[in-house]
Symmetry: C3
């Protein structure tokens, strides 16, 4: 289970392209965090360029307005899983959506299975980390 | 103390209905997380339906564009409190705002009392978990 | 490293004023969380006043529509650093952007260095807490 916020600059991609990008991002989480395809919870927000203020962390990235910031809330995932997710996200968004690897920032915050209810006010997966 | 993000689809509810929904959500947190009524910190964001991408976690929920995603940041709360909050949120949003229990997703992330300042740059409740 | 969401009411400040506010907020994080200037990751969102629902936590703050809600995701920072950040944020936003200290709410959520990738799918600072 994951709740994913995808923040990007408005007007840089068609609705179809935004959707394709979100589709790829979800597929990467399915593959690296071992979640079922149906565990998709994504919130996309488009901003004016002035509202997405992104440095380069002294890493000489060539940031552009194509920048994509992905924030993932997920129950306990291993360092290995996170590394795999970061790597695959950059690769797949480049391959499938043409996103420069310079234009991708990802952060993760962990919670637990007991922190999620997917409907009817019930904790469906408290023990399993899906 | 809680910071609550409520994400929903634009154009499905009147401003009055959105406010009523937020009021109910806050009342549920007051009742289940034992916070005073004045500890209300809610950010509502309305999205185009294409930007709120929600699966069913293989639980056969009938998701519609009435979907409500609630994300709560709160200092340490017990599993019992979270279960009570989820249950009551689904019940009260159905009773008071007509929200189908199929259309409610909630996640929680915990921090501590020392992670909050409500004004004047002061940590008002570092010891108490309000 | 920090991911900062700044939520405020639309129409209360010019684009230049919003930018100045974000600049000051970043400078405060640089000074108190010991991050390089280039570690800037801010997402500003402007809301209608009905969508930013903010109480006073029984602290008799005179909240107005100038309200600013800052949410910071950062790897492990000490209680001392957080206190310094809160204090300096309130002071500097007042001094430089004219923000009433009654109109500032800040919350922090921690993660770890391993939870960040700033580009190319690589974890750049897993050991260092920048």
């Amino acid at each position: 289970m994951t709740l994913v916020r995808i923040d990007l600059v408005a007007g840089r991609r068609s609705p179809t392209q935004v959707r394709a990008l979100a589709d790829v991002a979800h597929k990467v989480l399915v593959d690296t965090f071992d979640i079922p395809v149906s565990h998709r919870y994504q919130i996309v927000t488009e901003h004016s360029p002035e509202h997405l203020l992104v440095g380069d962390s002294n890493l000489c990235f060539d940031r552009t307005e194509d920048i994509v910031v992905i924030h993932v809330v997920a129950p306990e995932v291993s360092v290995h899983q996170k590394q795999a997710m970061f790597r695959r996200m950059a690769q797949k968004l480049y391959d499938s959506a043409g996103l420069s690897q310079d234009d991708l920032v990802i952060s993760v915050v962990e919670n637990t299975g007991a922190d999620w209810s997917f409907g009817h006010g019930v904790v469906q997966f408290s023990e399993k980390h899906l």
